[in-house]
Amino acid sequence: MKSINGHAVAQALIYVAKKVEENKDYLCELDGEVGDGDHGVSMTIGMRAVTRAMNALPNSVSPAEVFQSAADAYANEVGATIGPLYEAAFAAAAGATANLKELNEISNWVNIYDAMVHSIQVLGKAEIGDKTMLDSFFPAVDHIRILSTKGGSLSEALHSTAKTALAAAVATKQLVPKKGRAARLGDRAIGYQDAGATSLAIVLQGFADGLDKA
């Protein structure tokens, strides 16, 4: 992992896009069991737009500009529930990295992920346990916050954070949905893994892998 400047973040987002698209059908399948089967499509459309936006940025771009550009891509192309949530999250990440040139410290990513998850909660008004992406994101943020107090490599921290998110996403199976389309199914949704919690874990894993390569 080299020094993580804006360009590296942009490249990592392009890698995230690739991973999301690879999981399109899987995410649709998860959403289809209890929702409307489009989550993988919405995420793919959003991340394709992000990729186009990233490719249009100069190499000298700042991390905050990268995140804001990703936010705008989601805002213009996606819609649905997930569009505004990721728009808000990327915009919050831009806010959390204002004036920074590099994001080499674990604490940078604690701030980024923390800003993201809170902006999602403010906009979406879901609670923990409602069976949404918050249920994989909050445990991940808690995890990386603890790691940041212990020192260690950023790469390892991002990887183990993504793994925590994935485990938490799997654990959403037991939850009863309270927000979004799946909420209408109530108990019938128990046993199904939440699509948005899963895609969030894929995004975090994409960051970890993408930044390694950058």
Partner: protein
């Protein structure tokens, strides 16, 4: 996947393009995914903007034209449009009397329309929203505000559009639309799922001998799965749920038997026949009726039934207003 499409990710743009070309006497594009009546803005008339995910035609964009909506924003398949095309449509239809948004109660639509509303208000355009929630089975009566909007919008928008054609004020149009929504109930049943093109697979799978009761318009599962059986007894169950939720006895009503996309019109008439029998038995007077595909879920097979209770004002609005929209006409 058997669809009349090219690249599944281009479907919405190509559909939008074809829709504009096929309806150029009624609507014009005002953005990449937004349309307005050719005549927009109409000075002094409240502009009505509708929208939501694609895959429901004629809803929502098909209702732009005389007597219903003035503008619409297209989302991706089954996904609310972002705020941008909603704002574009709002600006295009604002004739000085303000703009009303009306759409189904889905989280994505609420978030994106609210965002657009904030932006337009900040631009000085008075905007009000009426969110529709006619789907009886999507939440219990005590939590009616959580119910989603489905086929009933077709009836409610007759009232909204007619009121706006009369050059009523924004508050009056909102009040009439809200009243119509409060008096409208819908229940749907699905026999098959549908395929989101960019997904390529059925959204859910339903055994050959089962159907879903209480489903929405996105190929999502309903509230319960039952064995396929004679449709009369299914219609009985639909009507029971509707009549238990609102007192229609002795009332005048407007009625829609709505095809979800994959069921032939012949079958919709078989359903209407039974609905009429039940209305007769309950002294419900059908003053306006429509049988056809209005609020669809791609190629999903199934039907929904909507009843809207009419007072004198609503009765006159729905009976006396000519509708000439892209995909629905009424003399």
């Amino acid at each position: 996947m058997k669809k009349l499409i090219n690249d599944p990710f281009e479907v919405v743009d190509e559909m939008f393009n074809g829709f504009i070309l096929a309806n150029d006497h009624i609507v014009k594009p005002v953005g990449k995914r937004s349309i307005a009546r050719v005549k927009s803005p109409i000075a002094g008339k409240v502009g009505i903007v509708v929208g939501g995910g694609s895959g429901h035609l004629p809803a929502f964009a098909g209702y732009v034209g005389q007597g219903m909506a003035d503008g619409a924003a297209f989302g991706n398949i089954f996904a609310s449009p972002p705020s941008k095309p909603i704002v574009e449509a709002t600006v295009a239809v604002n004739g000085g009397a303000g703009v009303m948004y009306t759409y189904g109660n889905y989280q994505g639509d609420c978030i994106n329309f609210d965002k657009a509303q904030d932006q337009c208000r900040a631009m000085g355009i008075p905007v009000q929203s009426v969110v529709l929630n006619d789907d009886v089975l999507s939440a219990p009566k005590e939590e009616a505000s959580k119910r989603r909007g489905i086929g009933g919008l077709f009836l409610v928008w007759h009232i909204a559009g007619a009121k706006a054609e009369q050059m009523a004020t924004l508050d009056e149009v909102v009040a009439a639309t809200q009243k119509a929504n409060n008096n409208t109930r819908t229940v749907g049943v699905g026999l098959t799922s549908c395929i989101v093109p960019a997904n390529g697979m059925p959204t859910f799978t339903l055994p050959d001998d089962e159907m879903e009761i209480g489903l929405g318009i996105h190929g999502e599962p309903g509230i319960k799965r039952v064995k396929v059986r004679g449709i009369d007894s299914v219609v009985d169950e639909i009507m029971e749920s509707i009549l238990a939720d609102l007192d229609y006895k002795g009332s005048d009503v407007a009625l829609l038997v709505n095809g979800l996309g994959g069921s032939p019109a012949e079958e919709l008439y078989v359903v209407y026949r039974r609905v009429k029998q039940i209305c007769d038995a309950n002294q419900i007077n059908i003053r306006f009726k429509h049988v056809g595909e209005q609020v669809t879920a791609l190629e999903m097979a199934g039907v929904s039934v909507s009843l809207m209770r009419l007072d004198t004002e609503m009765h006159d609005l729905i009976k006396n207003t000519v509708v000439n929209t892209c995909m629905y006409k009424k003399n």
